[in-house]
Symmetry: C3
Subunit: 430 residues, 3 copies
């Protein structure tokens, strides 16, 4: 700590304003923006722990090590591939403006002014930009992980994740946030109801279809066998941590520390989640006779996903309404997919795909400046590309490596066969 | 992220100082204050996960789903009712200065300058103010939830919480922070030892009395049957998360980013919690023969509650002393309430009511500028109103809906009867 | 909140610039630096929960209360002794520049300008400086706690921790960060691969040697009996929380909010952890036949420890390489220590000592401006002093109090004999 700044630019401009107060002010503004963006980045990092604990809690104890291992690896895969190719695919530069694909070259390529870089909506450093965006990247694959849990082969999932995070997510991201064709058409997706959660949700749908349901989940002719999660405390911790991190996910998407913008976005984020809890709890109370905790948790997440697309443009009142609607939508969607025999152990498709699409389309309904048709086109295009890509990857993996563990292994649990260990040893007292 | 700012004021003043450096400086100061206040807000949000895990850990496994469900719903209830009526009750405006009740109207009512609003101690936006205060609101009901755990009906508790958070907490809050009669009398409660923790603690006392003890807790003639919590890791996670969030609870209560103030408040917060651990561990070691972890956890919380009232005015040395005293106080109080056959499963009354009152009164002893009599009056008035209100609500609910589950349900655990599910499925290996 | 500022300097300089814009700018810069440093401080606090859950998860259920209790107490001990003597030992003032030991007096001694204090690399308050450094202090003892888990007496460990944190860590810290002889020789350890993690790691080695292995861990002639941790979710939560807090540990070590520096440091921190996961997972997959989750977790931590020494001067690419190398190093080290019959239940020596030394030496290899010999000298000197001190403390405690619990107690678990309680009561359903 004493010896800092050896290779870094020592003494930034603001330390010695040297007569130009306006430049000094801009340098200070950069400092504040950068602090806020890094706080947001660290909060988004915490979401990965949220995903890990939520998915582990909502599935069976015998597959817990496998789920935790996958979620840990996905963070590493996300950060490393984003540094290697993802960031360059997602932000290929102005030469590809309005396009569908572009590439700025392998690895991180900091410009000369990397540490005083000015972006469209504010000023912060190139490194902050990379890290904030990189934290988003792993999210798409993590969402898929929940839907394919308890039956997917570990090696196949890791290969899928690497390709999905390295290529599919950044290409879609470029369409909207990298200045691509969706941005040019006026599609509005502030922090990624579609660009992040939709991509993950459609990937989850492809995975759930290709893999098929868990053994014993559906019995002829019409029986649906509930397979309950093994730890509701773990699932609850996960939901709260996701919400906690979402304040950075949405708050950082303002891309500056502009006071009005970030505080409104956080209010919207808080109220959206709150609304989702109320109706998900009430709907499950009504439909199932008793209020279900896992439904209430998914309600919070559904509300958060739904307000993410328009968190910058909807009012707090609209956020409450959107959250309330999403809470009902997510419960209905979970039950509907179960009827369709589409086995999604954690409800990832309902939360991320369905509520993501609903929230994105809602911006077109609620906000006059945003075209409803444009929102539908964006949701459709992202969905088609993400689903087709994920399907193709799973299909290729099935043909080569195989994507599903054997029936014996599935019954025993993936922890023992894939990892040689168990998640819990609670009984051993000697 | 690309399309930000559609409906928000684009380009804040500081982006184009246009010749007035002083205005530009104030705009930047607003930016920094606002970032700090939002960081504090997000930290306070994390306290709700802390409460959920602490309460779940300190109670029996068979009631865990119920506790997690209640704590999740209380966050939603807190945020939504605070947006609907609480904020307007708590900050009714200058017309009600020095009064006991006021109301500024339903819903959020942002002023024209909502995004550059200047408050007494600093400048940040209206939205930040709402959200920071809103995160506090749910706390009062959450504290009650711990004391009535394992025997209160879910529906009755949710109705109680809604009314307690929507009406009782904001009215007390107005007395002190909304410019009401307690503030006018010079009552000093910086971040809410009494205004938040006291309100919750007195509500907890009312609930514990009206509900009566859990079945089997006390046996004739003098036996006290310990009912231990089911997961000490969960309880420990909860305590650490509460402490983590307390840095925002107290640090944000400075209501600006003033460097000396926020850093001193955080030092006081850290040392108060540390002191509480030492004496609670030592006292339980002395009295019980062995050092009890749950006592040490409650010692940390007792220390934190105790330094909250004067975190802005006491010295770090006084914070250590106050923490040390609170650690002993909380252990003695827990044992005393047990002797009095007042069953409080998580020690909420000892932590929040007793240490809150102790910390509030201590400010009057330690700080010459603060009147001891004034502190006693404040503690007494808040206690009387909170206890009477909570008692009234529980009494009315008992007469109508009933507030206690049946004996069979209590023995089986609330999870199965109220929610139709269990918290853990650890044994199922096929 | 209404009544803030009673004893604190009311109205900081920046509130009334009064004609001097440069002074006003500096005051604002102080504000931003201070906010960042406090955010970092709170993140480092979260690491203590990370250590508690990681260690608890990787050990047996019957010792969980003991581990949680120790980790909670160590936070209190760290903060209180650092306020009492540690801070004064570590930063004794310029009179001791280049020296090996110094002392500025008991207790906190804020200078007249405590709230506008300017440090070498930036400006923030005296209180922030104390608290950020104080959060580091407890870390050294916490690292030891993992290596001596499941067999050390509670009272002996608490006495060891108090002396180790109060005296040993601050003396080493003074050598480097307090302007002592290592700093004067140009030793480079940015955030403490050696000064924090090395000190703890060498203490862990001394403890593991003096205590000897757990009963039944090694059998004649060559058998190594694996004693697996009791909760992989808890261990995973711990690892993620440590990483989360590490963004503050490294990011705050910049000692200012300088945008380029803090954002680069966070990128390096993220990529180091990511690299460690990949190779630790791959190495365990290769060597053990299956990918081990606990190895992957230790890989993340090994990567983080390794990049900590040079986080300010290595490039992101170098961070990836260092992380990748550390992931392999940590797995090999864990297996090697097991062969040497050195029982370290959580792998603390491999993670903190080995990866810490590796990362510190690597700075001398990777960065031309840093002397490799100087790095080796620093690692050696810190190691010799820390190991000898810890050995001496454990030896003295063994001669007096005894440091190891009896064999019966060890078999039953420390929770019952030391604390009179168990960590889990999952089976009780009535």
């Amino acid at each position: 700590m004493f010896f800092a700044g050896l290779l870094l630019t020592p003494g930034a401009a603001w330390a010695n304003p040297e007569g130009d107060p306006e430049q000094a002010l801009q340098a200070l503004e950069l400092l504040v923006n950068n602090v806020w963006m890094l706080v947001a980045t660290v909060l988004v990092f915490a979401m990965h722990l949220g995903f890990a604990t939520l998915e582990a809690g909502l599935t069976q104890a015998k597959n817990t090590v496998n789920i935790l291992f996958k979620n840990l690896c996905v963070v590493a895969i996300g950060l490393l591939t984003y540094a290697g190719v993802g960031f360059s695919l997602m932000y290929p530069g102005e030469a590809f403006a309005g396009g569908v694909i572009g590439f700025a070259g392998f690895g991180l390529q900091p410009p000369a002014d990397a540490e005083t870089f000015a972006y469209a909506d504010g000023a912060y450093t190139y490194w902050t930009d990379f890290l904030f965006q990189g934290m988003f990247a792993a999210t798409a694959a993590t969402i898929v992980s929940g839907a394919v849990a308890e039956r997917a082969r570990l090696d196949a999932f890791l290969i899928f994740s690497t390709l999905f995070v390295a290529l599919v997510y950044p290409i879609v991201g470029m369409w909207q946030w990298g200045g691509g064709w969706l941005a040019a058409r006026g599609f509005h997706d502030f922090a990624g109801s579609t660009v992040v959660h939709g991509v993950g949700g459609w990937g989850a749908l492809a995975g759930a279809i290709v893999l098929g349901p868990r053994l014993g989940k559906y019995r002829e002719p019409f029986a649906i066998v509930p397979i309950r999660g093994h730890s509701m405390p773990l699932a609850t911790v996960g939901t709260f941590l996701l919400w906690f991190g979402w304040f950075g996910f949405n708050g950082g998407s303002v891309l500056s520390a502009e006071a009005g913008a970030i505080s409104r976005v956080l209010v919207v984020t808080a109220l959206g989640g709150a609304g989702g809890i109320v109706t998900a709890a009430a709907t499950s109370w009504q439909v199932q006779g008793k209020p279900d905790l896992s439904m209430a948790l998914n309600g919070a997440l559904g509300g958060l996903v739904a307000v993410t697309a328009g968190a910058d443009v909807i009012s707090p009142g609209q956020a409450v309404l959107l959250g309330l609607s999403a809470g009902t939508v997510v419960v209905v969607a979970v039950m509907l997919f179960d009827r369709l025999r589409l086995d999604d152990p954690v409800g990832a498709i309902s939360v991320h795909l369905v509520c993501g699409a609903w929230g994105t389309v809602a911006v077109g309904v609620l906000v006059p400046e945003v075209s409803l048709v444009g929102q539908l086109v964006g949701v459709g295009a992202v969905g088609a590309f993400s689903f087709a890509s994920a399907w193709g990857l799973f299909w290729a993996l099935e043909r080569t490596l195989g994507i599903r563990v054997g029936a014996d292994e599935e019954r025993r649990g993936l922890d023992i066969d894939e990892h040689g260990s168990e998640a819990y040893l609670l009984g051993r007292m000697s």
